[in-house]
């Protein structure tokens, strides 16, 4: 199979290297970890959304036969008031520790307060019932706008609002406030021919990975700790665990297991320190696996939001000014995702004047964490709504309006940053040129079509690879990026391309923290970009060493050896890579290539767009997706099937976010839908085959032009669905999810207003 464009491997679709193990069930996940003498742990969680812990009595649990150890927050080391960045963004160490096991207060229902390990899971569960916790129940606040009000129940009495490096000294639930401003928005709005302003609310949603969090730990008598876990970053898990337990990272080895989904939710730690401490106390290995309710109630959802968007345009269709007010739930602790939302909210458009005003707000829900392009989906839903209204008001086709205002190479975003080479306009043109867009929009009753455009900026960060050349010419490639989406193969493909090898001759494996250089988390759409770059560099290292070996064999200087298309040559002498690999033992022994990267230039962002056709049931409000296309700039698609898979996965999750998903709390602040029966993610029965169009605007900052594709695709679906629903029934919703009851309510409200306007 040839890839074209001068590539032999890149652009082809080899069978994924982990495929057989995955489909036969042989792949080893965290829950499969088996060790001699293994104990089983369980965690006791607060039933109260906000409460002071007055006392915890563990004596009865400790006395239960079979119980080996009981742990509370008091057993964790006291952490200083330190700000740390351990792979999941900056965070206060005390907050990180208290989120693992609460000490003085519980801040959400589901907040861990104690843990136990026993000889079997049933005894551990029974022991939880014997732990007596005396709470002083406090008033809770679970509504974002209520939490922002003066006089709202305050989660952290000592927390003051931070304004870009300045402590304001004001105590409230507002953790952070910042702004971006470009040009003169007031004057520009005054000059605009059309100004439209709307408000939006989006619900708290969960990443919805299938595999629950798990951790198994063994604290050896020599003080060395091994942790087997499902994580998006083995080094981040090691760093966070070391910080919470106040032990050096050199004492901890994290062995990443296969992952059944993460999407940003498996960057923070939850169970790892608990498993380690229970193992230390019992002297045996301890395994914990969260129940599904625990996953929903206690692990990072992504934030609900309140957003106001104001945009102004001239009659000629040019957007002249934009303002955004964005408030995001941070959950129980500060450190939310509103900063990313600010950088994405107007990122698709070239707007010379703008103001973005942002707030990060704590409230009595689990601490918010990243979810695929964190913050971009909420922002895109709001902005695209107003963009559609502007186009309608100006009588311009919505796609033409977007093309006219599209960001492009050299566009300055409102946060000030200037875009390098980017594929925004190309993605819009791909909509225009697609068969889906050219086909007639569905025209039956209550049917409609919507389009939308979103962005995610991607990150670089640290990656490492080592490549060991075997004497048969195959290569064992080790990397530290935990593999969520098939990245092992896409990394192997970049290595193979560099040395003109068959991709099946390069076996990539994800190894533990003792076996590879520091590698940052699998997140920020960075792995194919940055770890791929490390693989490319390690291949060049192998190439250089192999040239030296050939020079030895031919008794020539190394600069007289050439390497081209997998063949080393000098004059009339030549060796294929495989042939030369058979001579390593006589030229100095094994060849091991290695490389590390931490790129601070060339991190290309990615734009994604949707075309959605829907039909709305006027009696129930249920929205059926009839046809859905996702378009995304991949820079260069290393393995097109993986790229398409990411595009389809992000789209499915975005459609779920659009139509159904939300955290539903009762009046006592307890989550009422903590199961997949009640928290409704889309199934294959809910979705059509999602069509994909890969756009390739190569990233000049990467050897193969790669842009990360894991995230931007989740940004546009809710906006596209909202547009399609508006086209179908004439009502444009400003709240997520657009569940049946909300669609019906909005329809009825619209009909009521129409009747009033008609004097009915």
């Amino acid at each position: 199979m040839s890839a074209g464009n001068g590539y032999k491997v890149i652009g082809t679709r080899p069978v994924r290297h982990d495929g057989v193990d995955k489909v036969t069930g042989r792949a080893v996940y965290g829950g499969d970890t088996r060790l001699s003498g293994l104990l089983y742990g369980q965690v006791l969680r607060s039933p109260h959304a906000h409460a002071r812990i007055k006392s915890i009595d563990i004596s009865k649990a400790q006395a239960l036969p079979g119980v080996k150890a009981v742990l509370t927050g008091a057993d964790l080391p006291k952490t200083g008031d330190t700000i740390v960045d351990l792979g999941e963004g900056p965070a206060r160490l005390k907050y990180m520790s208290d989120n693992v096991l609460a000490t003085d207060k519980t801040l959400y229902s589901g907040h861990p307060v104690a843990a136990v390990c026993a000889s079997n899971v049933h005894i551990a569960e029974e022991a939880l019932d014997l732990i007596e916790v005396e709470y002083e129940v406090l008033e809770a606040v679970l509504n974002l706008r209520e939490a922002m009000k003066e006089g709202a129940p305050q989660l952290h009495p000592d927390m003051t609002t931070q304004e870009f490096g300045e402590d304001t000294g004001r105590t409230s639930n507002l953790a952070t406030h910042f702004q971006h401003k470009l040009g003169d928005p007031d004057t520009a709005f005054a000059s605009a021919d059309v100004v439209i302003e709307r408000e939006f609310n989006t619900a708290t949603v969960h990443q919805g990975y299938i595999e629950p969090h798990n951790a198994t730990a063994m604290w050896n008598a020599d003080g060395q700790i091994t942790i087997w876990t499902s994580t998006q970053g083995s080094f981040a898990a090691r760093a966070q665990t070391g910080a919470v337990l106040d032990i050096p990272v050199s004492k901890i080895k994290v062995v990443p297991q296969e992952i059944g989904g993460g999407f940003g939710g498996k960057i923070p730690i939850y169970l790892e320190p608990i498993a380690a401490m229970l193992s230390k106390a019992s002297g045996q290995p301890v395994k914990l696996i969260m129940t599904r309710p625990a996953v929903f109630e206690s692990t990072g959802p992504t934030p609900g939001s309140h957003i106001k968007i104001k945009m102004g345009a001239n009659k000629d269709g040019k957007i002249v000014a934009a303002e955004a007010y964005i408030a995001f739930e941070s959950g129980a602790y500060p450190g939310g995702l509103v900063g990313a939302a600010a950088m994405c909210v107007f990122s698709c458009y070239d707007i010379a004047n703008g103001l973005i005003d942002c707030y990060d707000v704590v409230l009595n829900k689990p601490r918010s964490f990243a979810y695929r392009a964190p913050g971009s989906t909420q922002a895109c839903f709001a902005t695209e709504h107003v963009v559609e209204l502007l186009a309608a008001e100006l009588g311009i086709d919505p796609l033409e309006f977007r093309l006219k205002n599209s960001a492009t190479t050299g566009t300055r975003r409102i946060d000030g940053v200037v875009y390098p080479k980017m594929g925004c306009k190309e993605v819009l043109e791909a909509i225009r040129d697609s068969e889906h867009y050219k086909s007639a929009a569905p025209s039956g009753p209550n049917q409609g079509r919507g389009i939308s455009l979103g962005y995610w900026f991607n990150v670089g960060l640290q990656s490492a690879c080592t490549a060991s050349v075997n004497n048969d010419g195959t290569v064992s490639l080790s990397e530290g990026s935990t593999d969520i989406g098939g990245s092992r193969t896409s990394i192997a493909m970049q290595f193979a391309e560099t040395l003109s090898l068959d991709v099946d001759d390069v076996r990539a494996q994800v190894v533990d923290t003792d076996s590879i250089g520091h590698t940052d988390v699998t997140g920020g759409s960075r792995v194919t970009y940055a770890t791929g770059w490390a693989a490319y560099k390690s291949a060049l290292d192998v190439q250089a060493q192999m040239c030296e070996r050939a020079a030895q064999l031919w008794e020539v200087e190394v600069d007289q050896v050439a390497f081209e298309e997998g063949v080393f040559s000098s004059g009339d002498k030549s060796y294929t890579f495989k042939e030369l690999s058979g001579h390593l033992d006589e030229t100095g022994g094994p060849v091991i290539g290695r490389a590390t990267v931490n790129p601070d230039s060339g991190v290309g962002g990615s734009f994604a767009a949707n075309i959605a056709d829907v039909e709305v049931d006027p009696d129930t409000g249920k929205v059926q997706v009839l046809r859905f296309t996702v378009i995304q700039d991949a820079g260069k698609a290393i393995h097109p099937s993986y790229v398409e898979g990411q595009m389809q996965g992000g789209s499915a999750q975005g459609i779920g976010w659009a139509l159904n998903e939300e955290y539903y709390y009762n009046k006592d602040g307890q989550l009422d839908n903590s199961s997949y029966l009640d928290y409704r993610i889309p199934t294959s029965l809910d979705l059509p085959m999602i069509e994909t169009i890969i756009v390739e605007v190569p990233n000049p900052g990467h050897p193969f032009g790669v842009r990360g594709v894991g995230e931007a695709n989740i940004a546009p679906p809710p906006a596209a669905m909202a547009g399609a629903i508006a086209d179908a029934i004439g009502v444009r919703l400003q709240e997520l999810p657009m569940k049946p009851s909300n669609v019906l309510a909005a329809t009825q409200a619209s009909e009521g207003q129409a009747a009033l306007a008609a004097g009915g």
Binding site: G165, E166, A340, Y371, P374, D415, G416, V417, D600
Partner: protein, 87 residues
């Protein structure tokens, strides 16, 4: 001369100036130059001789990984942004 872009919430320190040309071939020198013009600026950006963890510095649109040591070109733009996490 490189140009430092000042976040709007810090512009009260810079008398409302958003874009400030300053001498410097590293982020450290740019920050020091801003500190000499607008005392108090450095404390908002730097802690313990490092860029604050909640802040990212972008040079010519790219978030730098070498902090205060990052190189700045004669025509560079230096931006101070909130630090971010990806999913």
């Amino acid at each position: 001369m490189p140009v430092a872009w000042i976040p709007s919430l810090m512009q009260k320190l810079t008398e409302g100036q958003q874009q400030i040309p300053v001498e410097g071939s590293t982020v450290r020198q740019v920050v020091e130059a801003l500190e000499s013009l607008y005392p108090g600026f450095k404390d908002r950006i730097v802690e313990d001789d490092r860029i604050r963890t909640e802040i990212a510095v972008a040079v010519d649109g790219e978030v730098v990984t070498s902090g205060l040591r990052a190189r700045v070109g004669a025509e560079s733009e230096v931006h101070f942004l909130p630090a971010l996490a990806g999913g």
